[in-house]
Amino acid sequence: MKTNRERFGLALIAIALIALPFVLAAAGTAWVRITNFAVLFVLLSLGLNIVVGFAGLLDLGYVAFFAVGAYVYALLASPHFGLHLPFWVILPIGATVACLAGVILGAPTLRLRGDYLAIVTLGFGEIVRIFMNNLSSPVNLTNGPKGINRIDPFQIGPLDFSASDTLGTLVFSGPIKYYYFLLLVLLAVIVINRRLQDSRIGRAWVAIREDEIAAKASGINTRNIKLLAFAMGASFGGIAGGMFAAIQGFVSPESFILNESIMVLAMVVLGGMGNIWGVIAGAVLLSFVPELLRYTVEPAQMALFGKLLVDPEVLRMLVFGLALVLTMRFRPAGLWPETRHRREMDADRA
């Protein structure tokens, strides 16, 4: 049961999220785009959280599923093959293909845990990227390193997501429309995640994370349940990938490097593995802070020293690394840990 206070809080958050793009648009459309990418990263983190946070399977190649979703969208809605399917057909296809990729990765790695699993998943992520890079001959499937261009934007009836519409005095630019769409998808993903967490399947995932042998002996088919975790996580990655392709209008293999996998994992770990709200906070934080730095460091240096002493990109990584080290030192379970983990920490202290 929710109290009135909580309802009021939720209503405030909803209003803030709805008003946000117009506030940001005042600061520049770039900020709306940055927000859209932040939401994409939140989606990815929530997907990875199922695998890493719930089931405890360390996955370092998660970006592969993002790539699969993006390429499925690119191939089915671009001049590359001359196919132009509507997005509501492609997104489920992308999710399904990514889901299959998840099972393909999961099946041979079922006996692996921890470091060993991490190495195999890392390899898988690289294999997918290298495939995208090289599948341009003999049959030109992915157009190789050049990537795929002119990908169709979303289109709902007469509503074109690449163009601006005006409603009264409000201007709905393309990014703003995508923002609202992403927000709806995010809402759905959060609901799905929470329901899974509180279900028979969610409990089985946590049981496997806690003690695999005991889980088996208690009647859990660990093989199927693990595959399910990989498949679900991968599906979310695939959906996020499809939207990425549409928003960007262009995909190429270099968007799906190992660094992206590590970034998403860092978001999950920093926020608090297993806790949906923590993971969201981690993803938002790690998406925005670097951008804020990018926009403030340069002017600040120019104002203080009259010249650029430290490249913003370098500083960005420095601050990023420092933040991670500090988090691991002072809040090892993440900024906003899962209740179970937090209680574990308290028990150790007591």
């Binding site: 329901r195 279900s199 028979r200 946590v206 049981a207 002996a217 209680r343 574990e344």
Partner: protein
């Protein structure tokens, strides 16, 4: 006349150069408490792990409730109706006591991903049933006060009880307990004993590995003795206690 619940014939298991089990045959009857004793390293836990599908057996066969137990995976064994506890307690440490028992219901319930996402009526009813049964079982083993505590925060004796509750949640026909009294004081052991007797009175069959000879002799209907991977005796406690081979291998003269 009671029927045979579990029949094991000529079970053999080898780890490299060690013959852990050699031609072990035994029969557990419905509704009895069956004790398995023997010196350390005699193969008790190995036999246990073979029965519960954790180790594949090298030879022999097992019939359970009249059907051959060919499915070797532990979850299939749990589904067939054998539940177990572990010698070194294996709980889901960072889940609550209630959640631990709810895990035990997994094998008897069916809700999948889609019904969980859609929160179908059937899923909600099943979920409520899981919770109700788990609460019942916590009450049955006497730790319902700790339902919302993390498993790792429970006392040693309560953890043992929680493990039994989790095993019971799978609706077993045979409950296999691996040294449940290990590390318990006299009071805890006495409480455990009445718990196990209660289980038998409720119609459950129990397989008990135990080093506490007094407990085994007082509690069990029949006892088998393993030594160096071989069964050297199987009988009612009085007969086993008087068996010269058993005295030599395990009991010693003093305990007569």
């Amino acid at each position: 006349m009671s029927t045979n619940l579990l029949e094991a014939r000529n079970i053999g298991k080898r780890f490299g150069g060690v013959q852990a089990l050699k031609d072990v045959s035994l029969t557990i009857r419905s509704g009895e408490i069956y004790g398995l004793i023997g010196p350390n390293g005699a193969g008790k836990t190995t036999l246990f792990n073979v029965f519960t599908g954790l180790y594949p057996r090298d030879s022999g066969d097992v019939r359970f409730a009249g059907v051959p137990l060919t499915l070797e995976s532990p979850h299939a064994v749990a589904a067939a109706g054998i539940a177990r506890t572990f010698q070194n307690i294996r709980l889901f440490a960072n889940m609550t006591a209630l959640e631990n028992v709810m895990i035990g219901r997994h094998v008897r319930t069916r809700a999948g991903v889609f019904s969980a996402i859609l929160r179908t009526r059937a899923e909600r009813i099943e979920e409520a049933g899981i919770r109700r049964r788990a609460e019942e079982l916590l009450r049955y083993v006497g730790i319902s006060d700790h339902a919302d505590d993390l498993a790792r925060q429970l006392s040693y004796g309560d953890q043992r009880r929680l493990e039994i509750a989790r095993a019971l949640a799978t609706d077993p026909k045979l409950l296999a307990l691996d040294e449940p009294a290990a590390g318990m004081n006299a009071t805890e052991t006495a409480a455990l004993r009445s718990l196990i007797e209660g289980l038998r009175d409720d119609g459950l069959t129990v397989l008990l590995i135990e080093h506490d000879v007094k407990l085994v002799m007082g509690l069990c209907d029949r006892v088998a003795v393993l030594d160096y991977g071989e069964k050297i005796a199987e009988d009612v406690p009085e007969a086993v206690r008087a068996n010269p081979k058993v005295i030599e291998a395990y009991l010693g003269v003093g305990t007569r």
